[in-house]
Amino acid sequence: MQFAATHKAPHARTEQIILFRCSTQVFAISSASVQEVRSVDTLAGSPVEIEEPSLPKVRHMFRRGEQNLYVVNGAVHFGLRPSPASLIFLLRRSRTALLIDGIEKMTTMTRLQALPAAFCHEERVWYRGLTVLDQSVIPVVSPEGFLTTDELFLLDALVGRMGLPESTAVSEMGLGL
């Protein structure tokens, strides 16, 4: 599934979002932040297993063009019980691919509420805010919140030490996750 690069909202104050599931929880992400949705079995680019002990949420990377893309396990990132993932979001203008359990639906949010200030740890980086849909509160994730610049630097250094050949870039094969 490929999303169009430009995104026109029907109304000035609305935003199209994708509700997705990681473990038992539902999150939202702006559809404008998602470039592609792929099944883990049909991901273009051969995944390479990597292991950085300080980043257990990243177990695979693959190359696209000149870039290394790192696959973040959504459940591990959010501290949830790991579950079988089936889809990957390739995030727009990002070197992060997000492993998720599934998509619930696409919908529109009309209001993004600030995360209350009482929340004062990593969740302030994870989320842009909260939205209310059908009388339920859904956290809206921040695409930049999955990997920090320092973490990307760490992963690039790891991949550099591994000396991966350029040929890892193309071929159609699964992640085997």
């Binding site: 009482a118 969740e123 921040s142």
Partner: protein, 155 residues
């Protein structure tokens, strides 16, 4: 000059957490509501249980009983929704309480240097000496906000 220094007699709301009673300045109280559905999502702030929806607002539920009494509440009878001023914004927070709340007027004694940070003052009521809570000390400010930063602007 603190509010406690400014006024001797003040309106306070007494709240019950298990076997103990505490007080909050009445002007910090927005409402007392029956327990409603708590929405939970992934986060790392241990003090926050989840959020409730009140009048379209998302209100964090912060169970302060364990911190104040050493025991978690076994039953939640009401949520006392309190307000906290953080810079230009007024935040709401829902405190689960285990019994009836009572509005009283009492003379306050300012907290001393040896008192815990969560004690704003003391009051005496029905032969009981009761801590008046300092919410700011119970719910620390996120570092980013304390330094003047803020997350994405929100509608």
């Amino acid at each position: 000059m603190s509010m406690v220094e400014q006024f001797d007699a003040r309106s306070c709301v007494l709240l019950r957490l298990g076997e103990r009673r505490f007080a909050l300045a009445a002007e910090q109280i927005a409402e007392l509501v029956a327990p409603s559905r708590v929405f939970r999502f992934a986060h790392r702030t241990a003090e926050i249980d989840g959020v409730i929806l009140r009048r379209g607002r998302v209100v964090p539920v912060c169970d302060v009983a364990e911190r104040l009494t050493g025991k978690k509440l076994t039953s939640r009878r009401f949520y006392l929704v309190a307000t906290q001023r953080r810079g230009a914004t007024l935040d709401w927070v829902a405190l689960p309480v285990s019994g009836e709340c009572e509005l009283i007027t009492a003379d306050l004694t300012p907290a001393g240097e040896s008192d815990s940070p969560h004690v704003a003052a003391w009051l005496s009521h029905d032969g009981e000496v009761i801590e008046v809570l300092n919410l700011d000390a119970l719910m620390p400010l996120p570092a980013a906000l304390a330094q003047g930063g803020s997350p994405e602007a929100h509608a």
